[in-house]
Symmetry: C2
Subunit: 418 residues, 2 copies
Amino acid sequence: MRDVRMKGFAERADVEEVEGFLTRHGRVLAAESVELLASAGRVLAEDVRAEVDVPGFPRASMDGYAVRGEDTFGASAYDPIALEIVGRALPGHPFSGSIGAGEAARIMTGAPLPEGADAVVMAEVCAERGARVEVGEPVAPRKNVGAVGEDVAVGEVVLRRGRRLRPQDAGLLASIGVARVRCVRRPRVALVITGDELLPAGCRPDGARIVDSNSVVLRALVARDGGELLPFGILPDLADRVRDALREAAEAADVILVSGGSSVGEEDHAPRLVSELGTLDFHGLAMRPSSPAGVGRIAQCFVFLLPGNPVSCLCAYEFFAGPVLRTLGGRSRAWPHRRVRLPLARKISSAIGRTDYVRVAVEQGRVMPIATSGASILASTVRAAGCVIVPRGLEGMPEGAEVEVRLYDEEATAEDGS
Amino acid sequence: MRDVRMKGFAERADVEEVEGFLTRHGRVLAAESVELLASAGRVLAEDVRAEVDVPGFPRASMDGYAVRGEDTFGASAYDPIALEIVGRALPGHPFSGSIGAGEAARIMTGAPLPEGADAVVMAEVCAERGARVEVGEPVAPRKNVGAVGEDVAVGEVVLRRGRRLRPQDAGLLASIGVARVRCVRRPRVALVITGDELLPAGCRPDGARIVDSNSVVLRALVARDGGELLPFGILPDLADRVRDALREAAEAADVILVSGGSSVGEEDHAPRLVSELGTLDFHGLAMRPSSPAGVGRIAQCFVFLLPGNPVSCLCAYEFFAGPVLRTLGGRSRAWPHRRVRLPLARKISSAIGRTDYVRVAVEQGRVMPIATSGASILASTVRAAGCVIVPRGLEGMPEGAEVEVRLYDEEATAEDGS
């Protein structure tokens, strides 16, 4: 039997120190070409400059009649001016003729303004009489006409690099004829899930064997943060297998998430192997839960050692891996949670020098810490509305103090009403 | 030439009236079976009850030694009690023997507690000497042991219907052996995009032909709201083609979004066809932009007539179609935007009786309405940080008034910092 290293960590790094390290080593991945229809939610790697004017032609912005404005000067409801209707212009069906003096063409919103015309008079102030239209109001040249380039002008930078594309941004790109956009590549994420006791998700727990739930949580978090998950399997707690998996992952991925085998116990191979293949920059953190978490690098790849306990795994991901993933993808490193500030219904105890991740419920507008007996209680994060971070400088937070809750639900729920 | 109906709407419905109608007719779609790994973000259609205990066995919650608690009573650092080490227990590798009086087994966090033992004494208070361990502290029975069902008990409802599954919810479902979950079906959405002037997204605008940008925006909004977009093509402005498309869509979809041809102009077939195939409940709304929008139903299917102008299309979607889509999918009908309250840098003019959707920038903590010449300026929604709704009871909002901005960005941007 090998020596059992079960005595914990000699020293523990501060959360801020690890965050600072990750911020310093953060970088944004290179660009790739993305199809326009897949671009919403992606981050632009380059400025986009319009190569066309929008509109590309003078365009009616009202339903009515295309006219030469000066022909209508002096018109009034009592003394309308009659113009001869010589054609019509519809979107996609321009009037091919020209509007001469004393002439008009019916025109619909969005249609190209015919040659010769310089204004649109609204249908509401006109009356058709046979082949003529009586115009009851003067209209100045350029009135009710969208000028060429009014929406977007050739050469204009319409969207800047770093922009996370909104639905309407993708629409604007479509309107200027863009087919593909240069976006920041999505970070590729490899999961290294180890544990002889683990059955794959979808199985029933069986005797001493439990179901791997961490990869299920991580899969959803990685998707939220814009990462692309590489295929993976569950590994036995065998150093050689874990080493091979880490080596392969470092070649294929930008980020490796190791779940399980990350502490200092005898079956915890990952820390040693990360040191061997790269650097283990931090291992053992002054936080609760997740104190056995670690951060390292193998070549260009970030490695996060996430404790096997489900809540620790979630917590360590949110503090360290999530910000890195979002940074790599060109997004904000900030936690994406909605936040509310509410008073504490009961005090939170912590310790100076330690950062705490406290699951809380929100009851009648007050924040209630959820008492749990340990980090393994995934159900606590299910019952909780969100979490409160107690920074290392505080001993805790007193009852009544206003605290910031990071909400687990991405949006208001149906029960919240509108 | 047919009679050109270009005189606008006889009367316009209030936004609230339409919202009330849609709320009354809202329903939640039926359940479908969803694979666990695809369940995050989906809405539960049924309560989920645990069919197993988690943990399913008494489990070490610390690294240390599995003991009979009473054997340690009286132990102290000065006067430790020595126990014989008879085996070890690891996660996935239980100790198959039994712990008798005076015996102990090494145990790692997560491992099943061996038969006979009732507590775990922390490694930190123990010292191994050859085949024995000296225990320096008494440990009470059940100490450092996770009891059967401590996380989840058989029969417990772990998640209630209506819950939008968080990452950790999916993890919890995995841990109780769930392979598939009953979720609310995602609403199927058909797009009916009409316009002789339209080229498909990805093309360059060409002469009088412009690129269909609305379907690009709608595709992203439908994805945001949990809908499933059915395949579609761009239709010419021909009544028969639009009728066929509506009829087909009503059979396949829960929601039809009609973009273009929805006003009262001569090429605007959709309103008449919706009346013919079903009911056109509203057409012409007291709002700006989007006044030509309409709402109807064909059989069980909701139909939204979205104006062709890009900003009107976006606005009408957000007011009417988005809430219905989310309701059908079991989510909150509320707009999903993050909201901030900030003072107005300049007054907003509106009119009593009309609801306005005003694009705004946020500059130095103040809200600046974006002046635009018309609804067609999609670029305005790109430049804007969000929108402000001016309800119909107000003539406008004065400079300095605190207003609620619905932000277009789903999360803080990289520029905002953390």
